[in-house]
Amino acid sequence: MALTLRGVSVSLQGRDIIKAFDLDIASGEIVTLMGASGSGKSTLLSFIAGDLAGPFSARGHIMLDGQSLGSLPPERRHVGRLFQDDLLFPHLTVGENLLFGMPRGERASRISRMEAALADAGLEGMAERPPHTLSGGQRARVALMRALVAEPKAMLLDEPFNKLDMELRGALRAFTFDHLRDQQIPCLMVTHDRSDAPAGGRVLLLKDSMERDD
């Protein structure tokens, strides 16, 4: 699996704020994208995910495993996302949140996969709990597991650790990267914090044009 961007640019009211650039992210690779606020980082993620809206527009080709995502709606792209907020569905239990994104299949096997994922995240027995009864760190892990059990072919992280305290942050970062690498998912992460980037990973800096900085 690989995520490929060709000639992608982002513009605001006709003015390019990200000039056309190419990017290849290999299986299990985590690329970090940094830049000032308003530099178009999140817009780029929305463009890749397919739900770009508002004053920004973007052009270019996105390919996943050599297949163009073209004008596919977000739900057909198999591109997972983690947001700044965990966005757990408040009316569903923790377990139901996981099942929500898990591909359809036999109910018993789905439930056992859900329970396994919760156990993996150290959340055994919490399937029946409503999300608001969990701590911030627990919720963040549920959000990650929810994204992973949906079997994404690529992952976009939009400052997912931003709202966690330092201690949790390190642990969750490691937990997330381990899982993405284990499952060989190409990942593009947007962050403000350089220390979020995995050791030895590529870091891209968004200025006037795409710059590489390793």
Binding site: A49, E75, F83, R104, R146
Partner: protein, 537 residues
């Protein structure tokens, strides 16, 4: 804190709670009469009429909910979403009676559709209005309740904070492989339904107890129970009046039972639907086409009905099979404007009651713990669930004792009671659903609590506030039974004139009054929709 709680509850208690409670007690005292209850149960139409009333109420509620959900699902997160509110508000402004008159002329055997489709010299022998099943009544109710549910649903989903949360959740759902339809069904709709609970109760009670609309469109043998009661209450014989009162209580009881049963149903359905929510991703997209057809149909029909009313108001005579009235004239409108006092009285009452109700509601919400809201909402719903004749009768007894009959105070309270109930219900959800972190943030900026409410909360809740005020205005404009009792002929309002004229059957004049009743709320609703549009989106 204690002082604040008491002081904050005071305006509501004095203006609304106490009069309502006293009215209920007096109403109940008047309704207790063993002979009347015996006579009621000997009434040959009681059971078939009750069944008809419940049937029309349930069918109208179910169908309008279904259509509303489809329309909302199809338009949610599309460009048409913000156009929905003013459109629905416009439909909401048309009073039920006005709609019924226009709708009847559209579908009746001698109506416009038959003239276009059948023609000939004699109208076809259709049962398109006053049919034994009440289908015409149900259709007219559904067409009027869809805009009401759309407006409430729209405001629940468009509230600043809630809209942002749902937007994020929908993006998350899409990234997990859910199509727009699936995300709506599994994420938005379950969270929306809890906001629609009280509006649905109102729709059900209204649909089961409506009098004026049933007179125009409903079955006659047997009629709905509300008409059986109405006939009894209009009798000069005290014994028959008492049977009517007993009937009104019996009906309230039956409605209460139905609502309790629907509560159980809801729990059961929710359990049944649970596996559906976590069944996994589906690419189903939102029913945009069906929504467009449904929504367009409602808009088209409401427009046609309004136009028909306009034409009817200038045509004293319009016999079958003419497609256009043979004679037209402005006599009806001249007659309306010859006595403008009722119009001004109605407008003044609607504006004051709506504004006061919104203020009183804000004071309550800001001074009371959310757990105490049941002391406001339960009586509010209760007051709407009880036939107006019971409340009106009790209130009238109270006013007689206090010497308020025929006074501006009495008239104000008679209008204020239902307006306050509607405003509280419409406002409670958005107000309590407000994300208090904004207030915490504002407080952290060492701003005073009052300033925070004025500068943060009120602007953020502008849309629901304006909607609530517009609903209050519209409710006040159509008050009839309690208002007429309280006015005792000293004051006249537009609906009083309209209902009186309906009894004479002058269709052109009735149509003119129906339009006169519809236009002020229409303006207010449109204004509320335009002013309430959030600036940050």
């Amino acid at each position: 804190m204690k002082v604040k709680t008491i002081a904050g509850a005071l305006p509501l208690g004095v203006l609304w709670g106490l009069p309502l409670m006293a009215a209920l007690v007096l109403g109940v005292v008047r309704g207790v009469d063993a002979d009347a209850w015996r006579a009621l149960f000997e009434h040959p139409q009681l059971w078939p009429a009750l069944w008809l009333s419940l049937f029309t109420g349930i069918a109208a509620t179910g169908l309008s909910l279904l259509c509303t959900l489809i329309i909302l699902a199809g338009l949610y997160r599309t460009r048409l979403w913000n156009a929905l509110q003013p459109m629905a508000a416009a439909g909401l402004a048309l009073p039920h009676l006005a709609f019924a008159i226009g709708f009847a002329f559209l579908v009746a055997p001698s109506g416009l559709l038959a003239r276009l489709a059948v023609g000939g010299t004699q109208p076809p022998q259709w049962s398109t209005i006053q049919d034994p099943w009440g289908l015409a009544l149900i259709a007219a109710l559904v067409l009027k309740e869809i805009p009401f549910l759309l407006v409430t649903g729209w405001s629940a989903l468009s509230r600043g904070d809630q809209a942002a949360h749902l937007d994020g959740q929908c993006r998350a759902a899409a990234s997990l492989g859910h199509g727009t339809g699936s995300a709506w069904l599994r994420i938005v709709q379950p969270q929306l339904l809890s906001h629609l609970r009280w509006p649905l109760v109102i729709v059900f009670v209204y649909g089961s107890t409506v009098v004026d609309k049933a007179l125009v469109l409903g079955p006659t043998q047997p009629p709905t129970l509300s008409l059986v009661i109405w006939n009894d209450l209009n009798d000069a014989e005290t014994a028959t009046n008492l049977r009517g009162l007993a009937g009104a209580f019996f009906m309230s009881l039956a409605l209460g039972l139905m609502l309790a049963a629907s509560g159980l149903m809801k729990t059961f359905m929710a359990r049944l639907a649970r596996p559906l929510l976590s069944a996994g991703p589906s690419l189903a997209s939102a029913p945009k086409r069906v929504a467009a057809i449904l929504g367009g149909g409602v808009v088209l029909l409401s427009g046609v009905v309004t136009l028909l009313l306009a034409v009817l108001s200038v045509s004293p005579r319009w016999p079958y099979p003419a497609i256009w009235p043979p004679v037209t004239g402005t006599k009806a409108w001249l007659s309306l404007f010859a006595t403008p006092a009722p119009l001004w009285t109605s407008l003044a009452l609607a504006a004051t009651t709506a504004v006061v109700a919104v203020l009183v509601a804000i004071i309550w919400f800001e001074t009371q713990d959310p757990s105490r809201d049941r002391y406001l909402l339960v009586p509010a719903l209760f007051s709407l669930a009880i036939p107006q004749l019971v409340i009106g009768g009790g209130q009238y007894g109270l006013f007689l004792t206090l010497g308020l009959v025929g006074t501006p105070t009495g008239l104000f309270i008679a209008h204020f009671t239902p307006v306050m109930a509607y405003v509280a219900i419409v406002l409670a959800g958005p107000w309590r659903g407000f994300d208090n972190r904004y207030m915490a943030a504002a407080r952290a900026l060492s701003s005073t609590p009052l300033r925070n409410v004025l500068r943060i909360k009120l602007p953020m809740l502008k849309a629901p506030l304006l909607t609530a005020a517009a609903v209050g205005f519209g409710v006040s404009m159509v008050q009839f039974v309690p208002a007429q009792l309280a006015a005792a002929g000293r004051y006249s309002t537009l609906p009083m004139e309209a209902v009186t004229l309906t009894s004479g059957g002058n269709r052109s004049l009735t149509a003119a009054y129906a339009l006169a009743l519809a236009i002020p709320p229409l303006i207010v609703f449109l204004a509320a929709g335009l002013l309430g549009r959030p600036r940050w989106r």
